[in-house]
Symmetry: C2
Subunit: 239 residues, 2 copies
């Protein structure tokens, strides 16, 4: 059953997608294994593997050893979001970046923060609040706790010229992190600093990062009204 012959992994990917959309392979269907597909497509197994692995990363297929490869039951749009350093984000918009720190003190965090940074036992943390401005206008308010047990060097940084956001990303490698996006009503002080009315909708990013099993920092970034995260969903089908 030698088809016209597929020369590269993207052509194979397109053909697999075509069969999925044509319902030749409906959701849940177990598709032929790599050896058989390679024979059908007239290519090496590694090429089929490349195509199927890309589709699995895109969420179209689910692959398990021995069980084989099946079409995902619930198609999802998988978007990749880049979260840059704040200074870079502002300068990329062609605006000038300024930074103003408001507070910096070492303390035991409240329980809600403690649950994220040091669930086992309370430790000293560095609490920093600051405002990032774009061309002199409030852009995002940063409320950050840094685990001094994990990052003792942070205690020697005063963060008056370089933001904690930037210093941490450049200095402390992390293995993984949690991120969440919400819409919240601006609280009192936060609203004033962002130059908006209290209760106005603000876009909030909560992020916690770890180095292996040790929490590094947790931060709440509240963006001034009008902030928008843009992204795109990949192009599973080439061209």
């Amino acid at each position: 059953m030698s088809q016209p012959r597929f020369r590269n992994w993207q052509a194979i990917q397109d053909e697999v997608l075509r069969r999925i959309h044509a319902r030749d392979w409906p959701p849940g269907h177990v598709i032929p294994n790599e050896v058989d597909l390679a024979a059908e497509f007239g290519c090496a197994r590694a090429t089929v593997n490349r195509a199927l692995r890309a589709l699995a990363e895109a969420g179209m297929l689910e692959r398990r050893r021995k069980a084989g490869t099946r079409v995902a039951l619930h198609p999802v749009s998988r978007a990749t979001v880049d979260i840059p350093v704040i200074r870079q984000e502002i300068e990329d918009r062609g605006q000038s970046y300024t930074y103003r720190m408001f507070s910096r003190k070492i303390a035991r965090p409240p329980v809600s923060i403690q649950a994220r940074l040091c669930p086992d036992s309370p430790v000293d943390c560095l609490h920093v609040t600051a405002l990032h401005l774009a061309s002199g206008v409030a852009y995002v308010f940063e409320d950050r706790w840094i685990n001094l047990a994990t990052v003792p060097a942070a205690a020697n940084q005063n963060f008056d010229t370089i933001s904690a956001n930037e210093w941490l990303l450049a200095t402390v490698p992390y293995t993984h992190g949690d991120i969440s996006f919400t819409a919240e009503a601006a609280a009192g002080a936060e609203a004033d600093l962002l130059g908006t009315a209290r209760g106005a909708p603000v876009f909030v990013i909560d992020r916690t990062t770890w180095d292996h099993d040790r929490a590094i920092t947790t931060v709440r970034l509240s963006y001034a009204p009008g902030y928008r995260i843009r992204t795109s969903v990949g192009t599973p089908v080439s061209v």
Copy 2:
């Protein structure tokens, strides 16, 4: 210069990341080419390629033919966000899904929508508004325009049992899409349907999808208060 010998692409990835974090290879630095690295690591070039390609996809490296591979100047956190079908999203939370359509009519869209769906010339579109409920509680309000020039079959769907969200994802393949996230104040009717106060912060997803160069649909999803998108930043370093 045979190092201890790196056996797999993840070990190579870890070693490259170690050198980046150790500033052996600072941001902007052009690292050795694949052939040299393969010789140093004692493995095949394909293995080095696999490791470097993964790091490039994660945003840590920038690769260009002839120019070589360099450490990214501005480290970014690249998170992947899954955007599931709404029914699935609700059922995954262990809640029951119900759906209620409010309006469905064919019309020429307003200019703001027209700019996204048919920038060249106005065409007939199907405008659908509906509410998705989780265990009987308003979850998200859907305000959608479907380009009938691209998807004529939509005109025959009444969307009273299956939502446009679900029907489109299951029926119409797309090649790419734009997505954006914002926090906005609930407008009048929207606020009433979502069961929240007018002006309350709502999380909004705007999405437009295309099939090649033909726009399929554009939708605004406004989520009831409390909605949160969770994701995580990859684990470039294995374990």
